[in-house]
């Protein structure tokens, strides 16, 4: 009995150490990025490095976020492009994934399984494989150098997983709930909107976050499909910063930090919807 308690405590400590190391590994680059962004250019290029910035300055942030100067205008432009592409991708993928997943979950139609698995086929190949074919396709559609080309591409990447994820949610919502709603006077569509949709909101939110992050972070396709400087998204824009302002490490780090903010905020705001098990209490098992 005592030995068991000791054994458990031993594991407990090992677990804490392991998690602490993992956290450190994840957080350190972020912290270094944040610290560097608040240094002066001179301090940032010192060797041995200045571990803790002696003169904290937010100068780089003011430059990047102010439309008054060239760099700021450029950065804000990229940011706006990224937001637009990511937002459009998110909205469209939810609009497509929700009814598609619902149909896969509830209806039996010819070719259902074939269609369902072919949806996943795309995910069996690395994304780069499709770079050239998609580029040729986009050129043929006269979409090269437009945001639409990126939105369409990101949709094809994000949708398979979104549909699978949401289908799982709909499978877990008992069909009797919709039947009850239809008997209570709802049309099939009303039953879906009023009863099923609210219950699947954790799934919809998860799907939305996934699509948004996917679009927000994507680099290779954005680099290939876009060449007009005014249309670049943040990841590609950051890379230009990197080449054009090689010496300006604090500026680059500040830009990187700002880029990571929306994703973090999105998670913090919406994470509570993930954990709530909304279907609890719906039916008696």
């Amino acid at each position: 009995m005592r030995a068991r308690v000791h054994g458990d405590r031993g594991w407990g400590i090992a677990r804490v150490v392991f998690l602490a190391l993992l956290t450190l590994f994840t957080l350190l680059p972020m912290v270094w990025m944040l610290l560097t962004s608040m240094k002066t250019q001179f301090a940032a290029s010192q060797y041995p490095p200045e571990w803790w910035p002696r003169n904290v300055t937010f100068e780089q942030y003011f430059i990047l976020l102010s439309p008054a100067n060239e760099t700021g205008r450029e950065f804000l432009r990229y940011m706006f492009n990224s937001l637009w592409v990511s937002f459009a991708t998110t909205v469209l993928s939810v609009m497509v994934a929700v009814p598609a997943a619902y149909a896969f979950s509830r209806f039996r139609f010819p070719g259902r399984n074939l269609l369902f698995y072919s949806v996943l086929l795309r995910n069996m190949f690395p994304a780069v494989v499709f770079l050239m074919p998609l580029f040729i396709l986009m050129r043929w559609l006269h979409l090269v150098n437009t945001e639409l080309s990126l939105i369409l591409t990101y949709l094809t990447f994000g949708l398979p997983l979104s549909i699978w994820l949401l289908k799982g949610f709909y499978d877990n919502i008992p069909a009797q709930l919709e039947q009850a709603a239809r008997i209570d006077g709802a049309t099939r569509f009303q039953a879906f909107i009023q009863i099923v949709m609210p219950l699947s909101s954790p799934g919809i939110i998860a799907t939305a976050i996934y699509s948004f992050i996917l679009a927000w972070n994507e680099y290779v396709y954005a680099l290939t499909f876009l060449n007009d400087k005014s249309k670049l998204t943040l990841p590609v824009g950051l890379q230009r910063f990197f080449t054009e302002y090689t010496t300006n490490w604090p500026g680059l780090m500040a830009a990187s930090f700002i880029t990571s903010v929306p994703v973090v905020v999105l998670f913090l705001v919406l994470q509570k919807y993930f954990v709530r098990a909304l279907t609890e209490g719906a039916v008696k098992a």
Binding site: R182, D184, R188, I195, L199, A282, V283, K284
Partner: protein
Amino acid sequence: MAEVRLVDIVKNYGAFTAVDHVSLTIADGEFVALVGPSGCGKTTSLNLVAGLIEQTAGDIFIGDRRVNGLDPKDRDIAMVFQNYALYPNKTVFKNLAFPLKMRKLPRADIDRKVRAAAKVLDIEHLLERRPRELSGGQQQRVALGRALVRDPRAFLMDEPLSNLDAKLRGQMRAELKRFHQDLHATVIYVTHDQLEAVTMADRMAVMNGGKLQQYDTPARVFSNPVNIFVAGFVGSPAMNLLYGLMEGANRVGRDGWAVELSAENAGRAARATGREVVLGARHSTIALHREHVAGAVPGRVYTVEPTGDVTFVHVRVAQTIVVVSVAPSVMLAIDDPVWLGFDQNKLHLFDGTTGDAL
């Protein structure tokens, strides 16, 4: 409230026939139980009436209206589901209000009706709770309330009590019966539990293999089962069935047992299509003797089940077990030799080939 009529209903799923030419009229204000083992087509029949699925052939009438192809919402029926199907994201009040809201009633009317229904069901104090915060019995009441809150033309109930514990089930059975009488409601009640059907229903429709076997009052189904299936399904313990062969004109037997038939029963047995005749006897119509009696069938005690009021003795006769009820004072040990005397006036005879009553 209205009459519900099923006319020659067929429902096929591919090659499988779930409901096979069923015709059934449920009178206005009548409580009808659809009973049968799982997969017999009773729930499918109920869903057909509800409009959740569409029949392959046949007509369904609710009142004077033919409802073929109508959406569930346009059939004006209410349904209680086995798993209750409460809307988990809505409070009890909103669950009850939902059918009224969908019918666009004024807010004040909704409020009044919901509170009235809640009062009847004694769930007024739960109106602001969510389904997951309720006990099983309370959830059941809310599910019932959602059906009672409006004036549907018929109530459809799909095993509404099967998720409750035995005590609560007994209590709800009494309450449901009382509701039915107070509201003069047309109720179609699906259950696999013949006890619920017998205790609550005005008439019961026994189904098996998608076919309607017998549709009559519980008392008549109990006393005059039309075939072996109904005889074995209704009553607890079930009717004893002895599969025998005609041995001469007035004797049925097999593997060491034989029963002499009375003249009347012999006449009925003569109508059998083949030599196979099945004897059916309720546990209470069999006399148990401890020594040999002329005409009695010998057997050995297999097990003894005292229930308090009555003791059920399982007797092994050749390959079958026959259940006999005796007074609790009768003491028997396993493997005691006993003799069973069948009451000729209460003996059921079935054609062993077709299964029909003779």
